[in-house]
């Protein structure tokens, strides 16, 4: 499967906490990454609230490639490569909508929402003997996974089930993508997708959200500008004590843990939001028991899906476009049951926080942009990046699963776990080897 002869494990030295700059800037490595990482791992493609009814579709991406997420007439969910099987034209060039068929503009081949080829121009005359239409349907992913409203897909039939792929990071979704009250009454997307292009390698984004407490110093300006929802200095309300967790699958999460007896005073700027949050907190204590005070602040599911579950509540996919360009797709979510005024308050807070006009995210993007640019040079590439914070100090937590570091919370264990897994994808040929590598490392500190 591999076409180049570098060893990713030589470039990613997690035991020493040193990672070569080549993996962020080298175009050959990027080409390999598309096949080794993006064609094999589970990728986030969308949310159930984007395809509620039969015939609904949402055009998404898997790595660089356009895909169509659709619900067929029977209600089944599918993900197809957005490319006609005849001559490759994109069969759907709308961002979203509802349809019975996708008809290619080029030669008018048409496909039903279950991917079947249903219309071929001049079929009776031009093809003697007739070809088997069922062999020329849209190219479909090998597996689809759905969890807490999120929809995922993989091109690899040998990949483990999505829940096994999530592993113990499932705990983060269970506590973070549920309603504020901890019930499965559910969350929904707050609306449309923000899409924008950042000149950086996609992995800067993934590692940033996997857990990098050292970078918060970058956000001094937004803290001073009092961005948060309670009118105080800072960009968020208190999220409790930070617990950093890494997983052998490559995921990383920052949890905030608030004592169960703590009085909650979040969202002080909006009484209705604050009251709703209080109400939900009381319900959450009943619904989730000892885990009620635990909620992910931020995390990354390997390779390129990141999420914030508190302030703001948002899902991000960092779609690579090249070694040094990434298309960020961000959606926001809220409790389905929240009053409209609460949704409005949160929407305005969320988009002044994140996205290209987000006062916090803007400074992150500047860092990722110029870290990529300044690492391309011949001399620059000779010096690896430094990932030594909290090297090998991880342990266990009494309630939060995973490889846990609480001291120092500035540990770079999560980026190390992410890149360790990345190197395994790059070097190993089969999913059985990938699973073995994951088992061998298990819960060992990194």
């Amino acid at each position: 499967m591999k076409s180049t002869d570098f060893s990713a494990c030589d470039l990613v030295k997690t035991a020493e906490g040193e990672i070569s700059r080549e993996i962020f800037v080298n175009e050959n490595i990027y080409e390999e990454e598309k096949a080794q990482v993006f064609a094999r791992s589970w990728l986030y493609v969308g949310h159930e609230s984007q395809i509620k009814k039969p015939g609904d579709f949402f055009v998404s991406k898997m790595g660089e490639e356009s895909v169509i997420l659709t619900r067929d007439q029977k209600g089944e969910v599918h993900v197809f490569l957005n490319s006609c099987t005849h001559r490759g034209m994109k069969v759907c060039r709308y961002d979203e909508g509802n349809t019975r068929t996708f008809t290619c503009p080029y030669h008018a081949w048409s496909f039903a929402t279950d991917g079947q080829l249903v219309g071929v121009q001049d079929y009776e005359n031009a093809y003697q003997p007739p070809f088997e239409k069922s062999e020329w349907g849209l190219i479909e992913v090998a597996q689809i996974g759905q969890y807490m409203g999120t929809i995922w897909a993989t091109w690899d039939k040998d990949a483990p089930s999505f829940e096994d792929y999530l592993g113990d990071a499932k705990f983060a979704f269970d506590l973070g993508l549920c309603g504020w009250d901890g019930s499965d009454s559910g969350t929904e997307l707050l609306g449309s997708v923000q899409k924008w292009i950042v000149p950086c390698n996609w992995k800067f984004i993934a590692e940033n959200f996997a857990g990098d407490a050292l970078h918060v110093v970058s956000h001094r300006s937004v803290d001073l500008a009092r961005l948060g929802p309670s009118g105080k200095e800072g960009r968020r309300d208190d999220y409790g004590k930070l617990v950093l967790t890494a997983y052998p699958q490559g995921h990383g999460v920052f949890f905030g843990v608030v004592p169960l007896e703590q009085t909650r005073t979040e969202y002080a700027e909006s009484k209705i939001t604050s009251d709703y949050f209080q109400h939900c907190w009381n319900q959450r204590l009943k619904n989730l028991g000892e885990n009620a005070g635990t909620c992910p602040v931020v995390g990354t599911i390997f390779p390129n899906m990141s999420f914030h579950a508190q302030q703001p509540r948002t899902l991000l996919v960092s779609h690579p476009r090249s070694a040094n360009e990434t298309e960020m797709w961000r959606v926001y979510f809220v409790d389905k049951e929240a009053p409209d005024e609460v949704k409005k308050f949160l929407r305005e807070y969320y988009i002044r926080y994140a996205g290209p006009a987000g006062m916090t995210e803007q400074d992150d993007m500047e860092n990722w942009n110029y870290a990529t640019a300044a690492s391309k040079g011949t001399i620059a590439r000779r010096k690896p990046y430094h990932y030594k914070a909290g090297l090998g100090v991880g342990g266990k937590h009494k309630t939060v699963p995973g490889i846990v570091t609480e001291h120092p919370v500035t540990s770079e264990q999560n980026p190390r776990a992410f890149y360790q897994r990345w190197a395994e994808y790059m070097d190993l040929g089969s999913w059985s080897e990938l699973i073995d590598a994951q088992k061998i490392r298990g819960g060992a500190p990194i």
Binding site: E96, A225, K343, R352, P356, Q362, D363
Partner: protein, 181 residues
């Protein structure tokens, strides 16, 4: 050809006042005189920049995201003031060192051919913008689109009460929106 009537002169005078307002606003922004810029905004301002989508001709009413949808900006005066304060900290790295920005405002039209905007009354205008940003060495963005601005008169002076910005891009090609449009 129009006969130069007193009514026509009054219309042209108002038109010039409105053009001057937008050109002055552009200068304040490009000279980074943000506090003076904030003074042009009413306390009720809605500064809204919806997103654009690729939709079919039949779905063209969904081409622009609605007001209760996610947007690029959906700001009140307090948030706009926070954006200014952030730039003024000197550690807002996305705009530090400061960028070079030019606002070109053109195609100004009034929604109705009135001859005077009286105290407290509102008037909607349409225009096109070209905003050029260059920062650091070669980083360059060109943002082109249209604006729908609602002006009002307070203590004899024009003020901006509502701004809807329609950028002609669906995927935003600039990495951020640190500038005001």
């Amino acid at each position: 050809m129009n006969v130069v009537t007193p009514k026509r002169v009054a219309y042209l005078d108002l038109m010039r006042e409105i053009e001057d307002f937008f050109y002055m606003e552009a200068d304040l922004l490009d000279e980074r005189n943000y506090d003076a810029w904030l003074d042009l905004l009413t306390d009720n301002i809605l500064y809204w920049m919806p997103m654009r989508k690729n939709v079919s001709f039949d779905d063209r009413d969904k081409e622009t995201t609605a007001e209760d949808d996610i947007a690029w900006f959906h700001d009140d005066k307090e948030t706009l003031t926070k954006r200014v304060r952030q730039i003024q900290t000197g550690v807002h790295w996305a705009d530090e060192p400061i960028s070079r920005v030019s606002h070109l405002i053109t195609n100004i039209r009034l929604s109705k051919p009135i001859t005077a905007l009286d105290e407290g009354k509102k008037l909607t205008t349409n225009c096109r913008f070209i905003v050029y940003r260059n920062r650091l060495e070669t980083e360059t963005d060109l943002l082109v689109g249209r604006r729908e601005d609602t002006l009002t008169r307070v203590n004899g002076k024009l003020m901006l009460d509502r701004r809807k910005i329609l950028l002609d891009q669906s995927v935003l090609m600039a990495k951020n929106l640190t500038m005001f449009l």
